[in-house]
């Protein structure tokens, strides 16, 4: 039973910690992904009846391969480094196995729709009976109470619902949306923070607890400084686009080439003088229109035109490097290809991770930016097939014999592993 507990490799920050994950999509699984990277033993419990969307992936460049449950880049980004078992949780015997598994664990992560986990008999009230100091986190769009708790949402819904999409963006645009479903990563990172706080409390008091995350609430807190204007004074915040009340020029400036831009931020007079020198227009330093921050803020349109007349004939990286050399904050608006091929800093810090993959040899994934220099993390493997760790988890951790496991598989309680 749980033979490896407490003997984890101390070179990893979360060595010895076990996490059971009952979740799909991103906001829940990302918590487990980060914990696995830090050395925790993360066991993801899946169901073939309700496969994670990322398990239904057809590789776009090899569509003839059909559905490939381990090849999705999102499956890697959200699930790499975990162990995988599959249970039919509509069966009482499977629920019992899940409870036994939780009894060996420290943390449970779940993000089913509100109420589902309780109906399955795996709510905190049940699980705390088998693991009294359990730390459990449940995450959903609206949280576990309130009139809208059962509503269907995706990350982008929350972006709009939270008000973030209407306070962001250029004036005249009613709804500004990201392509990366921002509330998902936001909620996951906040959720992991809350789990770690609860584990610190547990270490000192012996007491576990349940944590509820409403992605709606986490997102509003994430731009709370903007919401304060509404909450304190009843004023709608001004849409600033890329502008800032504390800096000018401050924006994305067009560079040479198709859809190429460089972001530039100038806060202080010193930086302003550096910019004027870098763009060879030192006469602007004495120009009354731009003499200090307030003057520059009052003449932003003229300022933007001057800056862009310099950037638009130049390569975006040349603009960034010339301005940074002069001491001005500047950065290329990078796309995915740039991040991989052109970003010297990410490359020097080996940010992207090469992870061993059973079918492809290795895949490249976005790194985990936790910066733990004393206990650097690593990802041991990409996500494995459904049920890959059945023998290890039910045999070694729960002490079931091979015959018992076979019988549970034959009965459909443990779902059969994919190849």
């Amino acid at each position: 039973m749980s033979g490896q507990r407490g003997q984890g490799d101390q070179r990893h920050a979360l060595a010895g910690l076990r996490v059971v994950e009952l979740s799909a999509g991103m906001a829940g699984p990302w918590i487990g992904r980060f914990m696995a990277w830090c050395g925790a033993d993360v066991i993801k419990v899946e169901s073939k009846k309700h496969p994670d969307v990322t398990r239904l992936y057809v590789p776009p460049r090899e569509p003839d391969l059909g559905v490939q449950p381990t090849m999705s880049p999102w499956f890697t980004d959200w699930n790499a480094g975990k162990r995988f078992v599959a249970l039919d949780l509509t069966r009482p015997a499977a629920v019992e196995l899940a409870r036994k598994l939780v009894a060996t664990a420290d943390v449970v992560v779940e993000n089913y729709s509100a109420g589902v986990i309780d109906k399955l008999g795996l709510g905190y009230g049940e699980l705390v009976k088998v693991k009294p100091d359990l730390v459990m986190i449940g995450s959903s769009g609206f949280g576990d109470s309130g009139p809208c708790r059962s509503h269907v949402t995706w990350g982008s819904n929350i972006e709009a619902l939270s008000g973030l999409s209407s306070v962001s963006g250029f004036a005249g645009r009613e709804c500004t949306i990201t392509q990366y479903a921002y509330p998902d990563p936001l909620s996951a990172v906040h959720g992991l923070f809350a789990v770690m706080c609860a584990l610190d409390h547990r270490r000192r008091t012996g007491q576990g607890q349940y944590i509820n995350v409403s992605q709606f609430e986490a997102t509003v807190a994430g731009f709370g400084q903007v919401m304060m204007e509404q909450l304190v004074d009843g004023r709608s915040p001004e849409k600033l686009g890329n502008r800032s009340p504390g800096a000018a020029p401050h924006g994305c400036y067009r560079c040479s080439g198709e859809d190429r831009w460089c972001a530039i931020s100038v806060s202080t007079d010193l930086e302003w003088r550096a910019l004027c020198t870098a763009i060879a227009q030192v006469e602007l330093v004495a120009d009354e229109r731009f003499i200090d921050l307030n003057a520059r803020l009052a003449h932003q349109d003229e300022l933007d035109a001057i800056v862009e007349s310099w950037t638009r004939e130049r390569d975006a990286y040349d603009v960034m490097n010339a301005l940074q050399a002069a001491g001005v904050a500047a950065g290329v608006v990078q796309n995915a290809e740039d991040l991989y091929r052109n970003d010297a800093q990410l490359a020097a810090r080996s940010f992207f991770e090469q992870i061993p993959h059973p079918a492809r040899g290795a895949v490249t994934a976005t790194g985990v930016p936790l910066g733990l220099t004393g206990t650097p993390g690593r990802t041991s493997s990409t996500g494995s097939p459904v049920g890959h760790d059945t023998d290890h988890v039910f045999g070694e951790l729960l002490g079931m014999s091979a015959a018992e496991i076979d019988r549970a598989v034959a009965d459909g309680i443990i779902e059969k592993a994919d190849k």
């Binding site: 906040h190 994430g222 909450l231």
Partner: protein, 402 residues
Amino acid sequence: MTALAGRRVVELADEKGVYCGKLLADMGADVIKIEHPGGDSTRDAPPFVGDRPGSDRSLYFLYMNTSKRGVTLDISRPEGAELCRRLMRDADIVIETFEPGYLHGLGLGYEQLGADNPALVFTSITGFGQSGPQAHYKSSDLVAGALGGALHVTGESDDPPVRLAGSQSFMMASAYAATSSMIALYHAAATGHGQHVDISALETSTSVAHVCGVGKWLEDDIISRRFGTGLFASVPSGAYRCKDGLVYLMVNRPLHWKALAAWVNELTGNVEVLDPMFEGPSSSRQPYRDLLDIYITDLTSQLTVNEAYHEGQRRHIAFTPVNTSAGVAADEHLAARDYFVDVDHPTLGTLRYPGAPFRPRQTPWRISRSAPAAGEHNEEVLCDELGLTRERLGELAAQGVV
């Protein structure tokens, strides 16, 4: 009881790290915010309470510094650095956002402090990280979001790239920093070994936007870019016009599409929408996005936002309002969960704040006090706790050290 009761944090942070301190403070840690004598420049960041400028009236500062204690020290002076070192020696976590190497030059770097306090977690948050060819490049929230790939994929396709409101690149750098600090603290509590946590806003921004980043591009050769209000991979998706505003819709699952098509058919009499060629995953609808948007707008334009939202959700379709800030402030679901909290401020009265980003049931998130005035806790921290005499504090104040 709070989760982090008894944990001590010293914060020397600008916009990159101030939310990291808030996350720890609202969970119960004793966060000592060290500012320059006279106070941090963000105390003057607009907008202001009542739209009237004034120190301590900055809504940004008031939000970001809840539950902290405030101490002023000029750490560039030896006496200030020594007091800072003594505070850090007793801390569990230090949060700092200076240029790499700056604190080391003052004798306050990780190597120097770690010798005093081996279990110390020392968290640095910078634009580019502590190492690498660009470690000394200057950053800003906008620059970090640009480099990390977030701006390239935000907003309308024919607009310039644009950032989210509220400095989200730095907010997330702070959120990762708080998380990583707690992971390092977990390790320190188990082993006695602290460590230097090196957070790069470039890397955290890249991580946040990863869904349309490198892994995806390596697989499909498609460079994601701005795509309006919809998501490229989800058909249909986006903001749709109702009688009185916009409603947001996402369809990813085959069942959700069927439910939506049935509703469009019921309300508009459209028969084409039921065509089986539109059924299945989003990929089967990808060639028909514009046509389906017309069908859906025929539906939503007959409804108010609330009708689309509530009836849509009753049909298990992911419709949600595109809320204004006023809509969020008045939201009935948030009200039912008592989300917003009122915080008393000694001179500004009661201020309403966004509430808990997460709800630990045994050790609730809370705001224990409003943001401190500059140096409000100098005497309490430097005299009562560090043992400085009041005379000495007076001398240091006269010299501009505190």
